[in-house]
């Protein structure tokens, strides 16, 4: 089968590529508004997008078999760096960053891609659905980075990394019986997790359950975010006219809560358009995954696509007051470098899978 088929453009899936570029462009415009016209901030973000897009294009050109062969090493690198961060990391309160002199970055970002790659690599040579022994092995592979990240503590990223791993297992055909069993296990583990949580994490949950209890302190974000969203109405207050964010009632209005600004300025119609755009990206990723002829590519592309969905769901629900405040950005809209670069790199991996459908032999 030829590498270039009708409907592709230089080997890119036109739907995915245009949706990603559109999203990145919209993201910058929204950020410009949400930051109150802060050009420097937008240029910063654009520079990161540039870096991410370069990475995306480069990765999309790398044959999937190569990627597969790097998988265990990347995973190992992520683990080593996570341990290093735990030992000598820098950061405000939480040890998340590794300072390499020139660049500071979060090793957990490598884990976001390294883990699904590793799991897909493991499953690639095994019969699916995976056997109990394989599952146990996968569980260990997932738990190692997740626990290290949760310990930093960074619950949002830990959740994301865990999800990216679990999606691989899900797509590998884990039976629904196991899935429901796992769900039950998580449910019973909640009290234990509660005990292990940091105070600030617990107070976030408290606040989420009853934001009115401390409206000027912890509950402020949740209340102000809902006011911003609700006051946007059907059509919004108009670009740059969101009073909640422009007058700085809404904290974190360029990062975690940027979607509230968007909802305030563009209304329900804007929200639906944006959700449709994300749905297009996710569905395109899943279609590419389904079309791939090799296990590694399928599992990797599928898991990354579903992980994008987790970002959107968790951030969207948090902004709308459905989930407690967790540090999870809205993909390509929230200000913040590393997650945007990782996301774009992830799209690069999906594009590579699209390009090298045939993939490596089993």
């Amino acid at each position: 089968m030829s590498r270039r088929r009708s409907g592709t453009w230089l080997g890119f899936d036109p739907w995915l590529l245009s949706a990603v570029l559109l999203l990145a462009g919209l993201g910058l415009a929204i950020l410009y508004g949400a930051s109150g016209g802060d050009r420097e901030l937008v240029l910063n973000q654009a520079a990161r997008f540039g870096l991410g897009l370069v990475l995306m294009v480069v990765l999309s050109r790398i044959p999937t078999p190569w990627l597969m062969s790097w998988s265990p090493w990347l995973y190992l690198l992520a683990l080593v760096l996570l341990v290093a961060v735990a030992v000598m990391g820098v950061g405000r309160g939480a040890h998340r960053w590794l300072d390499l002199g020139v660049v500071r970055f979060q090793p957990s970002e490598i884990a976001k891609l390294g883990l699904p790659m590793m799991l897909a690599w493991v499953l690639h040579t095994r019969p699916l659905p995976p056997s109990v022994g394989t599952l146990a092995w996968l569980a260990v592979l997932i738990m190692a980075p997740v626990l290290l990240i949760a310990e930093q503590p960074d619950l949002g990223t830990a959740t994301l990394v865990a999800c990216s791993g679990l999606f691989v297992v899900f797509l590998a055909g884990l039976s629904w019986r196991w899935i429901s069993g796992l769900g039950l296990l998580v449910a019973t583990a909640v009290p234990v997790i509660w005990q292990l949580m940091h105070d600030y994490q617990r107070s976030r949950v408290h606040t989420f359950l009853d934001p009115g209890a401390d409206p000027l302190g912890q509950g402020w974000n949740i209340i102000q975010s809902q006011i911003a969203v609700g006051s946007g109405g059907l059509t919004g207050k108009g670009y740059l006219h969101g009073t909640q964010s422009q007058l700085q009632f809404l904290p974190e209005h360029t990062t975690d809560f940027v979607f509230a600004v968007f909802a305030e300025e563009f209304g329900l119609i804007g929200v639906i358009v944006m959700l449709v755009l994300y749905a297009v990206i996710i569905s395109r990723g899943l279609i590419i995954a389904a079309r791939a002829r090799h296990t590694y590519g399928r599992l990797l592309a599928g898991a990354i696509s579903l992980t994008v969905f987790v970002y959107v769901l968790v951030n969207g629900a948090m902004v709308a007051g459905l989930l407690p405040v967790v540090g999870m950005p809205m993909p390509l809209i929230s200000y913040g470098g590393t997650s945007a670069v990782t996301l774009l790199a992830g799209f690069g991996l999906i594009m590579s899978v699209n390009r090298y459908r045939r993939g490596p032999g089993t």
Binding site: T125, P127, L128, P129, P130, S131, V132, F167, F170, L171, G173, S175, R177, W178, L216, Q224, Q226, I227, A228, V229, G230, S231, G232, G233, L234, T243, Q244, L247, Q248, F249, L250, A263, G267, L268, V271, I272, L275, Y278, A279, I282, S283, L286, I287, A289, A290, R293, T295, R298, L299, G302, L306, F309, V312, L313, G316, A317, A320, G321, L322, T362
Partner: protein, 620 residues
């Protein structure tokens, strides 16, 4: 597919896996779609169903009503002399939501601005009750040096605000401290009684004196600005505003020149004096000495200053002019004589033999005249002029306590005069009912005897004495005593006369009786044997008066006279009016520890009256 169904080692089946993966991808996508739909539903709920609620909350977030304090009304004397004004000043405020560590901020501020304990106490009280974005005043009337110090370090104190405001200033400091009173910081008790809307944005309220009494007129009402604010409370622009309603300006009945003369007349002694116009009840001067600087209280008096005022043996904070209770003593004698004549108990020519001693039949108790050996035969006129006690002992016995207290009640004794100042004392008008109610004891005849010379249970206040004297001077007319003459709504607005209330009238049986009393009082000052003849000799106008010397009594204060030092036990009193033939001023004077009325109070009263006389237009 079930894992349990696969027991032996399997090999990969590409086709089957592709089908399975496709199923899983589809299942996953369905879940994604359902979740996104649910999320969209939530946004629809917030943005469509609950839109109204959140839109209004967003609006109220954005727009804050900011109160604008009204300018307090000015206070003038009757001729327009400014007595209480508003001066631009700066105060130091803290915004609670910008304070990270209150104790640290206060400690650091203390190095730049002197903070008194009282300031801190009141501040903490207000700080606890304030809303997070509401600035709480910490110190008033910053000095220029303090403002400069704060300005230099402003970046270190994000929570600190230096706000311009209008500070009350009493132009003549101690001269009117007991009359005009002062404003002070609104405290918790004030907050409970004041209308929050009218006082929004105000930091001060009238605490004592006329400032308290006419608070309603002086304050006005707060205005409102609808201000678009930044989340941190910083106002960005005014959307609309309702201007505050400024307080009304007061014009008092007081004549500042006479007030000055009255204070000068005391020559540093303690006491009180009231001068009124008997024709209309206007209070021309009202003095309580020693006094204190009312300005000390406006921006919060320091603990040290306050303690000094409280502990001073001369008790400068005590308002003798309205709260002080004094035994009237002989100053009551003109009224007693009038009672005897009007009730038909005496004719003007009836005489009583004064031997220096008076006894009730069958009682061993001796009641004395002030001149040992007595005054000889005394008629009504002489009884007043020479202050012949025996005349009054017998008169009191003949009248009986019931008729006496009934008659004296007509002159306003035993109840507040209704002067427009809070805290006016009631005094005591001795009567059977009063004694029964207060002491639960029957009345004894001996008590009637000494009540006849204004002693025993008698307690009067300065306003009561002035009023009763004015009634004598004006043939029974009893206008309401008052301090507020007129009000004006603006600086250039016309003054509107203030209605003090209806004019009363004491029943008159025979004008001649009243004239006799006035003549007798004139004899006190101008007669050959009058008790105050020393002060009347060179007077260009005629003075009618009566001296009195009494033990210091003040049931209000809960002290008995024996607690006081010897020199403080006697009060010198003088009541009088001038000119005797056409009274235009009536006064009551008390000098604490002043010895006798004729030696101390009468000359002092003369000095006040001279001050008044100089203000009169030249006689034709």
């Amino acid at each position: 597919m079930r894992l349990s169904a696969v027991s032996e080692r399997r090999i990969k089946d590409g086709g089957m896996e592709a089908v399975m993966f496709r199923n899983r991808a589809i299942q996953g996508f369905v879940i994604v779609l359902l979740c996104l739909l649910a999320l969209a539903g939530r946004y629809a709920w917030l943005q469509v169903v609950k839109y109204e609620e959140y839109a209004s909350r967003s609006e109220s977030n954005r727009v804050r009503l900011q109160p604008v304090a009204p300018a307090r009304g000015l206070i003038h004397d009757r001729n327009g002399v400014l007595l209480a004004e508003n001066r631009p000043a700066f105060r130091l405020e803290l915004v609670p939501e910008r304070v990270d560590d209150l104790d640290r901020v206060l400690a650091e501020l203390d190095q730049r601005v002197q903070l008194d304990e009282m300031d801190l106490e009141k501040f903490r009280q207000a700080y606890g009750n304030a809303r997070r974005y509401q600035p709480v005043p910490l110190k008033f009337r910053l000095s220029e040096l303090e403002i400069a110090r704060l300005a230099i370090d402003q970046h270190r104190f994000p929570a600190v605000q230096v706000t311009p405001y209008q500070s009350r200033h009493y132009v003549y400091g101690p001269m009117y401290a007991h009359l005009i009173g002062y404003v002070g910081r609104i405290d918790e008790a004030d907050q409970a009684r004041l209308d929050r809307g009218r006082y929004a944005g105000s930091t001060h309220v009238g605490k004592t004196g006329l400032e308290r009494n006419y608070e309603d007129m002086l304050h006005g009402a707060a205005g409102l600005e609808r201000v678009e604010t930044h989340a941190n409370g910083r106002p960005l622009r005014v959307l609309s505003s309702t201007p505050p309603e400024p307080g009304q300006h007061l014009f008092l009945t007081i004549d500042h020149r006479l007030q000055e003369a009255a204070i000068r007349a005391f020559e540093g002694q303690s006491g009180a004096a009231i001068a009124i116009d008997p024709r209309n009840g206007e209070v021309l001067a009202m003095v309580s000495l020693p006094s204190f600087d009312a300005n000390l209280f406006v921006s919060g008096i320091s603990r040290g200053n306050y303690a000094a005022l409280l502990e001073s043996p001369y008790r400068p904070l005590f308002n003798r002019a309205v709260q002080g209770g004094y035994e009237p003593g002989s100053t009551l004698k003109p009224h007693m004589v009038l009672m005897g004549l009007e009730l038909g108990l005496r004719r003007p020519g009836d005489t009583v033999l004064s031997t220096g001693q008076f006894r009730l039949p069958g009682h061993p108790q001796v009641y004395r005249d002030w001149r040992s050996g007595g005054h000889g035969r005394a008629d009504a006129r002489r009884a007043i002029a020479e202050s012949v006690n025996t005349y009054f002992y017998q008169l009191a016995v003949d009248a009986g306590i019931d008729r006496m207290s009934d008659y004296m009640a007509d002159f306003g004794f035993g109840r507040p005069t209704g002067l427009d100042l809070l805290g006016e004392g009631e005094g005591v008008l001795p009567s059977r009912d009063w004694k029964r109610a207060q002491l639960n004891q029957p009345w004894y005849l001996g008590e009637t005897v000494i009540a006849g010379i204004g002693q025993g249970y008698w307690v009067t206040t300065m306003p009561q004495l002035a009023r009763a004297t004015a009634i004598l001077a004006s043939g029974g007319r009893d206008p309401q005593l008052h301090l507020l003459r007129a009000v004006a709504s603006g600086v250039d607005a016309p003054e509107r006369m203030h209605d003090a209330g209806p004019v009363g009238q004491v029943p008159v049986q025979d004008r001649a009786h009243w004239q006799l009393v006035v003549d007798a009082m004139t004899d006190v000052v101008h007669g050959a044997s009058g008790t105050a003849r020393a002060v009347g000799a060179d007077s260009p106008y005629t003075i009618a008066g009566k001296t009195g010397t009494a033990q210091r009594v003040s049931r209000r204060e809960g002290r008995s006279p024996q607690d006081l030092a010897q020199h403080l036990r006697h009060q010198a009193l003088f009541v009088g009016f001038a000119p005797a033939e056409d009274p235009r001023i009536a006064i009551a004077v008390v000098v604490e520890g002043g010895g006798s009325g004729s030696r101390t109070a009468a000359p002092l009263a003369r000095r006040i009256l001279d001050g008044w006389w100089q203000l009169q237009p030249p006689q034709p």
